[in-house]
Amino acid sequence: MAFDKELLEILVCPQCKGELELTSGEDGLDCNVCKLKYLIQDGIPIMLIDQAQPLP
């Protein structure tokens, strides 16, 4: 399912409540403060801290 970019743009990081950045591959949302990537699966962002991937 295609996801709504405008919705993603107003989502915040569940940990720091800061802004998120859509990855270039549009497969996730990066929090550059917490250094976490929240994956987008089938158009649904997984906004769970314990399932986020650490950013390099």
Partner: protein
Amino acid sequence: MKELKQKFLIIKLSSIGDIVHALPFLRTLRTNYPKAYIAWMIEERFQDLVKFNSDLDEVIPVRIKHWRKNLCLKSWNEINLIRNLLKDRKFDWTFDLQGLIKTGFIALMIGAPNRVGFHRKNCRENINAWFNNRHSKYISTSEHVIDLCLSQLSVLGNFHPQTEFKLTIRTEDERVTENFISENRELVAKPIVGINAGAGFPTKIWSIERYAQLADRLVEELGFSILLTWGPGEKEMTQKIAKSMKQKSWVAPATTIAESIGLYKNLSLFVGSDSGPFHICAALGIPTVSIWGPTHPDRNGAYTNNHTAVYHKLDCSFCWKRICPLGTMECMDKVTVENIFDAVKKISSQTN
């Protein structure tokens, strides 16, 4: 700069318990979308429950029940005003947490591009699903109503649920309670148990005599003060309990919903059946002992700890009927004064 704000509208019209159960949905939505515009459409008489909630940008009170019964020129004018307001808002998303035909129709009329509703099998009226164009996944009917509401968020993302209940009132809503307490100092000399005998369904009501016997024992054996609370149409029943008691009790003053929240905040414990006051007290974190018959505590009961649901399981239990099909009300009748007294004793000792 482009305006990014997305506009969400929650449609949850009634009643007290159902609205309280939708508060974690609002909290979770707001936590994840702090910049969004969030409004709530609600029956006017219940708006106290959300009117001062800081998670909301707007409360849209409606009088659908009144309009349906009194379809006159004044009603049409009010309907037109609401229609124009909704048109102006241009909501991007509507969340129909009621699941009825009427709320589905309202969502369709509002015409948001994204109209979220329950899975057809989770709707109270299946036809509701026709009006919405996005649906949450089916969840078991044994799941709690709060989880059912939260399931609609699955169309936006996978979020950690915020199971908080914001019940905000103004200082002036506390005034009735302050005055009542200042005139009845003896009431607050001991911890207060609030007893609310009324409920929406006649089948949810426990007998007046048993409430009176229970209240006497709570005073005599556990040293509580008893505050008998009541809502519209329940004052007479409440006064009968007070008259049937041997010990002194207090009948609560008349309150609005907001004022009743201020009153319940003073309780150490609440006793009653599946009713608005029970849901408000549970949301306020007041320990409760509740009596269940036609409705299921796993689905509609308190969501957090410090609560005891008491019921007597029968083959016909949790029938959801307003009138007992057998005419016996056996499920409520089998719950004894001893059952409730023991539950209060246990929960109060744990709380202390």
